[in-house]
Assembly symmetry: C2
Homo-oligomer: 343 residues x 2
Amino acid sequence: MAYNKNDRRSRTKGRPTLNEVAHRAGVSPITASRALRGVATVAEELVRKVEEAARELGYIANPAARALASAHSQSVLVLVPSLANQLFIDTLEAIHSVLRPKGLEVVIGNFHYSREEEEDLLRNYLAYQPRGLLLTGFERTESSRRMIEASGLPCVYMMDLDSGSGLHCVGFSQVNAGAAAARHLLSRGRQRIAFVAAQLDQRTLLRGDGFRRTLQQAGRYDPAFEILTPRPSSVGLGSELFAQLLAAQPQIDGIFFCNDDLAQGALLEAARHGVKVPEQVAVLGFNDLPSSAFMVPRLSSIRTPREIIGRRAAEQLLDLIAGKTIAEPVQDMGFELVLREST
Amino acid sequence: MAYNKNDRRSRTKGRPTLNEVAHRAGVSPITASRALRGVATVAEELVRKVEEAARELGYIANPAARALASAHSQSVLVLVPSLANQLFIDTLEAIHSVLRPKGLEVVIGNFHYSREEEEDLLRNYLAYQPRGLLLTGFERTESSRRMIEASGLPCVYMMDLDSGSGLHCVGFSQVNAGAAAARHLLSRGRQRIAFVAAQLDQRTLLRGDGFRRTLQQAGRYDPAFEILTPRPSSVGLGSELFAQLLAAQPQIDGIFFCNDDLAQGALLEAARHGVKVPEQVAVLGFNDLPSSAFMVPRLSSIRTPREIIGRRAAEQLLDLIAGKTIAEPVQDMGFELVLREST
DNA sequence: TTGTAGGCGTTATCAT
DNA sequence: ATGATAACGCCTACAA
């Protein structure tokens, strides 16, 4: 019997193909395919044979061929604004932990807080035909929105909540979190309360809104007590802004920082200048990063449930991919005020 | 003229294909392909036409089809041990900045300091037929080594140096860095010098070796002044280990931490207990993370050139992919002692 | 410089 | 329950 050129039984180099597995198992390629994917009805014994053949050959499916034939890859595209913020690393880990066991690859796109970059990432990565999308927040370009819509892909939005839109989202109310921060500082008897924010992404701004509104309602809002800068958040920036704020407004007795790294920098700067925290000025952070608990004084913060958000968002996406209807498209995971020594 | 079923001129749904671009430009698909990739010799005017057609159609090549036909994707696989360490984020950013403009996608694999996980990642991601590999360090399983070898892919090793092997690597001598740390502490007149390390990956251990050897040569080595733990490095752990070490060995007057986060934790713990740094005990970190410069006192550290390492490694890989011969397969990027207030 | 033919490895569709 | 056949969209090889 002559082998035709498509027959790979005798091939000795390169990775094994489904064909070879099929031959070794004595079945047709399509049966091997089905057996390996656990779909449809394949006789138990055949499944066993195929799996054995695959194992012996060290067979691993070619994702490109698979994607081409099925018109979709086994990946999920996750877009985050930064990798420098531990917040998103934690989120990614959580996502990973639920998607990986399901055989889905997590493709990470870092858009550096740039809407244009996010748009580019979408344009490029959508071409990979991912199974679903995990996006951060609701703020993006019109083009991005259209591409997401046009892709028809299941999509879950993380970190923020948006009840009106009908979008699937898992997060917490940024506005409420900001309000809670203000209420806490107020409850500590603080009178002249500042807000310091960097990066100025949508969520930061919403936090600021909630914070500001609460202060206003308490008759304690002063726009001079606000520093907003688009510069990237960091410990160094926190030190700098703290010094700047206290120099300009020495009477301030409470500060809410939009992220823990800023607050940590403030704590450090305060120590350097002998400013007593919380006696002279209370410092409240946001996100509760791991190191915050070890600052001097230990930083009070608002803990955001990024692990749960990541997990739930991934699970919800899994359901969407499976075609299930989501009972609760808007999942509020809340947040937690973590009181330590700095407030 | 009847359209055959392969003819997509009239197709109205789904993403545009190369065929459609070709038709619109009035050329054959292969010419369109060549024009878009900028390969071979295609008449300038045809290139223009094809590009215009592609733009009008919003054409984006299907990576799966491309990978299947060409037997390789447009991705580079980068394997790092952690995303929680800013060190690797910086490295990834640098890699990104050189590979992205060349049209290469950076696929990130986080192996969580686990050799087994790295092996899994290789097994899975090699199936994607990346153009090249960017790996961290030299420590891995035999299987991993074999897979890398068998893949025949260009590969550059980052962070450490290994002159004997003939492997391409970009990094610095971990041993020398450890030695430099010891020499510095010694030069500060420290007599009882400790070494605190977590994670215990190969590079950390090598740093320890260099550090230890230098102390031994100076007659100042005491094994009781060493804490090695496989637990993950963090600020909190640094605080804990510092307290533990000083309780057990109060006479210690200098400590080298294998990573800045540990050193930062130590500084915080010292402040909490009124231990004077550097008067009573000098604290030296490693990597020089951004926040270290803002600690109280400002942390002395050894700055590792991860940005340059990432960039150079990526550039070297690009050369390898292009089939160029590398003049300097081993690139020592050095390190820098950053003296601040803690030593 | 351009085009033709064929195949890359897998899965969907339709039979059996 | 299993298989034959034909795509999937692009690129390599070779031919013109």
